[in-house]
Structures are given as C-alpha cells and as structure tokens.
C-alpha cells in the first residue's frame, strides 16, 4: 500500500516531460512497426527525422521500410520524406548519406512509379551520374524508360550535359506530347546553338502560350538583343495574343542592363501607353511596369 502511494506522489510531483528526442524515439518505434496501421505509421514518420541518424540501427530500419516492396507505398513514401527531412541536418546526416544514396539508386527501378520518380528526383538534384545515365537511356530507348519523357527531361535539367541537348532537340522536333516539348525547350535554354529554335517558336502565333513564353525566356538568356527585337515586334503587332504581349513587355521591363535600349522608341512607348489603358488586365499590368521603368 505504502509503495503504491509513494509511486503516485512521485508521479504527481515530477511528471516526465517529453523532450523532442524522446518524442522522436517514440515516433520511430511506431513508424517502423509493421503491426501499426499505415495511417499511424505515416503520422509518426513526421517526427522521425531527429532519430534517423542517432545510430546505424535506426537508419537501417528506416531504409528497410523504404526498400521493402512489400510495405505499403504510402508508408514507404513517408519514410523517404523523413529521410529527406533528416538530410537537411547535414552534419548529423553525413554518416548516413552513403547508405541513403545507395538505397535511392536501388529504388530508382522500383515497380512503383511514384517511388521511382521521387528517388530519381532526389538523385538528379544531387547531380548523381547513375540517375542521369538511367534518365538518358530511357529517353533514347523508351522501353527502358523509368519515367515519362517530360519528367526525365525536367530532372536532367538539374545538371545539363551536352548529351542531353541532342535528345532535347529531337524531342522538340518530334515531341511525344506537348509537355515533353516544353520541358525539352527549357532544357535547351542554356544552349546558345538553340537560339534559332527559340526564335522560330517565339514568332509562331500558332504555338501555345507556354512554348512561346519558354522561348522568350530562353532567347532573353541566350541572345537578349534578339529577344528585345522580337519583343518589340510582338508588342507593336496588334494581332498577336495578349498573353505573349504581356510577357514581352515583362522581358523588356525586368532586364537590368541596357540591351533593350536600342529597341525602345517613341513608337513603342505610344503603343505601350495605349495598352496601359486598353489592354487586358495582364497586359495593362505589364505595360505599367514597363512604363514605370522609364519614368513614364
């Protein structure tokens, strides 16, 4: 009787506070317990980053969840997210990094497409040569593709190599779909030799707004003078689309050098002033921004 009372008193007077580290360990146990529901495990995963690199056993437990194709995909994705969050604590994550990368490479060929995409995304952003090779192989041989072509192109743009340019140019010529064409154009945006491609697409009024926008941005980067010349023509062309006029005005308004100066004259100002009052909402806004740059 006395012992019980003592225990109760002790518990009242000194409640055990849950430190962040303790919470993480409790959550870790829940997250890696296959007998818990996926919902419980996923909720617990958000508290796990702190515990991931405490010791190798913890790391391997989370990596095992990620690698295990028998685990529910949402739980595996939650494990991946925990590892990504943990990776932001770089100093403590450093010892875990090699195993993390090895696991990502393994699951890059996972049966689940979302697992593959997430893994290849992380690797591509890390400029991982293994991932780059896989992505290029998939674009060259579609039956080996691990991702849709538009996603593969997007990920390759994290570390553009000349090899990717050739594939991207081909994709622009013969796109498997419209979004793949857009991603291919974006990837080519740093390729000076592709300037004629962008000029052609920017001028083509039948092209989609997205393609013309990407072309405008790319040309602005590769050959600003050419872009400013085209932008001027687009703004002065009353038959061209509002959207691309707005984009062209923005191109002229947001450069910080003087390359656009040669293409700014009273004719252009007059038209922009007209657009400021008569244009669509987006054109008006871009017109105001442009005129404000020149103190008008």
């Amino acid at each position: 009787m006395t012992t019980k009372r003592k225990a109760a008193k002790s518990s009242k007077s000194s409640p055990k506070r849950k430190t962040p580290a303790r919470s993480a360990r409790t959550a870790f146990a829940m997250a890696t317990n296959s007998e818990k529901t996926p919902k419980q495990r996923i909720a617990a995963m958000s508290e796990v980053p702190l515990a991931v690199c405490e010791n190798d056993e913890n790391l391997q437990a989370i990596l095992n969840v990620l690698r295990n194709e028998a685990e529910p995909v949402p739980v595996r994705l939650a494990a991946l997210q925990s590892l990504q969050a943990a990776s932001f604590s770089v100093i403590s994550f450093q010892p875990c990094r090699a195993d993390y990368i090895a696991t990502l490479r393994k699951i890059a060929t996972d049966p689940d497409p979302e697992i593959r995409q997430r893994a290849l995304g992380i690797l591509a952003r890390d400029k991982d040569g293994f991932a780059q090779k896989k992505l290029i192989q998939g674009l060259q041989n579609p039956d080996q593709a691990l991702l849709p072509p538009e996603k593969a192109l997007q990920l390759l743009s994290n570390d553009v190599h000349a090899e990717a340019y050739a594939i991207a140019r081909e994709m622009v010529k013969n796109p498997p779909n419209e979004i793949a064409k857009q991603e291919a154009l974006r990837l080519l945006a740093a390729d000076a030799e592709s300037a004629p491609i962008f000029e052609k697409h920017l001028r083509d009024k039948e092209e989609t707004r997205e393609v013309r926008e990407i072309s405008a941005a790319a040309l602005q980067s590769i050959n600003p003078q050419k872009m400013h010349a085209e932008a001027r023509k687009i703004v002065l062309d009353k038959s061209d689309h509002d959207d691309i006029q707005a984009t062209s005005l923005t191109a002229l308004a947001t450069t910080s050098d003087d390359t656009e100066a040669a293409f700014i004259d009273e004719e252009l100002f007059k038209e922009v002033e007209r657009l400021r009052s008569k244009g669509s909402a987006n054109v008006k806004k871009s017109a105001r921004r442009f005129l404000s740059k020149f103190g008008r």
């Binding site: 994705l77 604590s89 849709p148 707004r209």
Partner: protein, 411 residues
C-alpha cells in the same frame, strides 16, 4: 520658421524606414524666423495616409514608454535634438511613405517627413501592390539568371551546407542569409520586406498564378501571363520545379505533418530543445513538396525557399521574445558554443560573408560581404553568429538589424 527631421539619424531618403524597434531620429531648426525665444517647443504627431496605413509612436529617451505625440524643445541655434520613433505594433505600412510625421509650433506646421513602417508580413496577407513590388524586385535580382541572385543560390549547396545546417548555427546563419537577400531587394525597391510563408496554415493567396504560382501535372510552376517569374532562371535553366506531394492542397491545407507554431514554440525554453525545429517544422516544410525546394543542393533555386525560411526565422524571433533570449551570452539562448563545428559557435564569423575558403570552409565564398543598410549599422559586413541574436536592439541598441515581424512585438 522651419525644422528638418531625420530618420535613423540620416538625411537620406533611403533611411526613412522604421520597424517596431525604436529608430534614433533628430530634429533641428533650419529657419528660426518668428521664433519667440532661444528655443521653440515643437510637437511631433503622426499622420497616417489611411486606416490601413502605418502609424508611428515617439519617445524622447532610449528607454521608456512610447506616446502618440511628443513635444521637444528645439533650439533656434540649429543644434539637433534627438528622439526615437518606432512603428506602432499592429500598424505596419502598406506603401512607401504612407506615414507622415508632422512638426508644429503651436498650431503652425513647420516641418514634416514621410516614412514607412517596413515590416515582414505573412505572404498570404499582402495587398496586391505589396505582392507585386516584392515579385518585381525579386525578379530583378534574378535578372533571368544573370543577376546578383546567382550568389544567393550558390550560398546554399550541398558543399556549403555544413556551414548552415545540422548544428546550432542553423538559425543564425539563415537569419543572416535572409537579411543579406532582403537588403539586396531593398536596394532595388526600398519598400520591400521579405514576406513569410506560414506553412502551418492554408495559404490561398500565396499559391496562385499571380504570386508563387501553381504547379502543372509534372511539377512545373505556372504563372499568369507577364508575371516576372516566368523568366526566373537558375543554373542556366528557366523555370521553377515544385509540386505538392500526396495531393496536398496548400491553398486549403497546412503543410501535412509540419509542427504547428504553438508546438514549435513549446519545444522548450532552452535553445538546445528549440533548435530541433530544424527537423520539424523546417525539414517537413521543405519535403512536403517534390521539386527543387525538397533537397538541400537545389532548395534555394525556388523563390519560395526564402519565404519558408522567413517563417522559420519568425518562429525563432517569436521564441526569443517568449523566453527573453536576445542576449547570446545568456544561458539558454544558444547551445554548445565552443564545442560546435566551425561556423556554429558564437564568436565564429559566418561563411560566405567572412570570405574564408578552404580547410573546414567551402572552396569558394560567393557574394562577398553581407549587404549594408542605410538604416542600421548591424550586423556588419562579416557577422559573427552572436551578431544575429539581438535583432531588435533590446540588449544593445546598436545591435538592431532593421527588420521585424508583423506578429512579434517589441520586447
């Protein structure tokens, strides 16, 4: 009779910005014609451009209560008289110069000055004009990949990440990083303050095509026609990659799994406990997305990164105020100094602003010294970790960093 007023003790219009922390100001007689004696009692009051515009309060001395007006004896000799001005908490400006201080001798207006109460706000609450000014300035800083933003992108890579992550210097480093970027934005448009993404709440006005964009099916962020971010370019590639994971809708839901503000502030009164927020909510807010922002090597390519970290910094600021942790020398304000990795101890200068490369520092140091400000002197060109703590000048007025948050009052 005329008087001249200076904000932040500067005649420059670039210095006419205040926050919640008191700014040193001064007044002097420039034309004493009509003065009844050797000094004139001049009353300063604040006029706000509208009910939603900024308001300021005054005090005579470095400490003490503020009031909505102040009367100062101003000598006709032209000698300056000091006083202090601060934004009235809860009344930040919405436009530059929407606050005016008027000086009167009796009922006669004898001088005035316009200024701005420039405050970091919830990005979801910005007016369209505030949003557009911020976006325009940021796009100019990027300048389609050729602008100064290149340095900010290159400050946050895998190689440099031990300088800024996984150790106690995480919060101080990112505070300096944001401040440096914000000052560069203010050099383009001084009315701009960095807004924050309150990731533990839905943000319907932030994730729109007019602001931070909406993702397409492959994670490419889309904007309205003519939006300056259409030209956003990093590493030679145009565009922003970002898509919410698991069908999460940031316009109607908080970031899934991200620790709430209340839970973050309850991580404890000691820095050693609070700094675990680096994992959650900070790491969680990064990884609820797929795309550049979800990994350290590429996170800073996405402009949303800076709004995310502005909220992280706001949480630190709020925790500091809640626990009176502005003095880095005070136990509990920091942890492990002296035994932390390089760049994470109080007296350490921080890379890249210290320009130190090689050895335990990265091989290059992009960007040079930390940007100065026309309003304040701190934290200096090569700040130490300790220089980031007293952002309101609560411990030492000279430590004021020139920023404040809309919901973190003066301590």
């Amino acid at each position: 009779m005329n008087v001249e007023l200076e904000i932040n003790n500067s005649a420059s219009a670039d210095a006419r910005f205040v926050s919640w922390a008191p700014s040193p100001c001064r007044i002097r007689m420039t034309n004493p014609a009509g003065a009844p004696g050797p000094q004139v009692n001049v009353t300063l009051t604040c006029v706000s451009a509208s009910a939603s515009a900024g308001l300021v309060v005054f005090r005579r001395n470095p400490t003490g209560a503020f009031s909505s007006s102040i009367t100062l004896p101003v000598p006709v000799s032209g000698a300056t008289v000091p006083f202090f001005v601060a934004g009235r908490f809860g009344r930040p400006s919405v436009n530059n110069n929407d606050v005016k201080i008027e000086a009167r001798a009796g009922t006669t207006l004898i001088g005035g000055i316009k200024l701005m109460v420039r405050i970091r706000k919830d990005a979801n609450s910005l007016t369209a004009a505030e949003r557009d000014r911020f976006v325009n300035a940021f796009a100019k800083l990027n300048n389609q990949g050729a602008g100064r933003f290149v340095d900010f992108r290159n400050m946050h890579t895998l190689v440099s990440s031990p300088q800024a992550h996984g150790a106690p210097g995480f919060l101080p480093w990112h505070r300096a990083y944001l401040l440096d970027l914000e000052r560069e934005l203010q050099a383009i448009d001084p009315s701009v303050a960095l807004p924050y993404w309150r990731f533990d709440k839905p943000a319907p006005r932030l994730f729109t095509r007019d602001f931070m964009g909406v993702s397409n099916a492959v994670g490419r962020v889309q904007f309205t026609a003519g939006h300056p971010f259409i030209f956003w370019t990093t590493d030679g590639v145009q565009g922003i990659n970002r898509i919410p994971l698991n069908n999460w809708a940031p316009t109607t839901q908080a970031a899934p799994g991200a620790r709430t503000e209340a839970a973050t502030l309850a991580l404890g009164a000691q820095f050693s406990g609070f700094r675990t927020m680096e994992g959650n909510p900070h790491g969680t807010a990064h990884t609820v997305w797929d795309g550049s922002i979800s990994d350290i090597p590429t996170a800073a390519k996405d402009p949303l990164f800076f709004l995310l970290h502005c909220n992280v910094d706001r949480l630190w600021a709020k925790w500091q105020r809640q626990n009176a942790r502005f003095n880095p020398a005070q136990a509990g304000s920091f942890s492990g100094s002296g035994s932390n990795p390089i760049g994470h101890n109080l007296p350490d200068t921080m890379w890249p602003w210290n320009g130190i490369t090689g050895g335990s520092r990265p091989p290059t140091a992009p960007g040079g010294a930390l940007a100065g400000s026309p309003c304040v002197n701190a934290p200096g060109a090569q700040p130490m970790v300790r220089d980031t703590f007293d952002f309101q000048g609560s411990v030492s007025a000279g430590s004021r960093l020139g920023f404040d948050y809309d919901d973190v009052a003066l301590a």
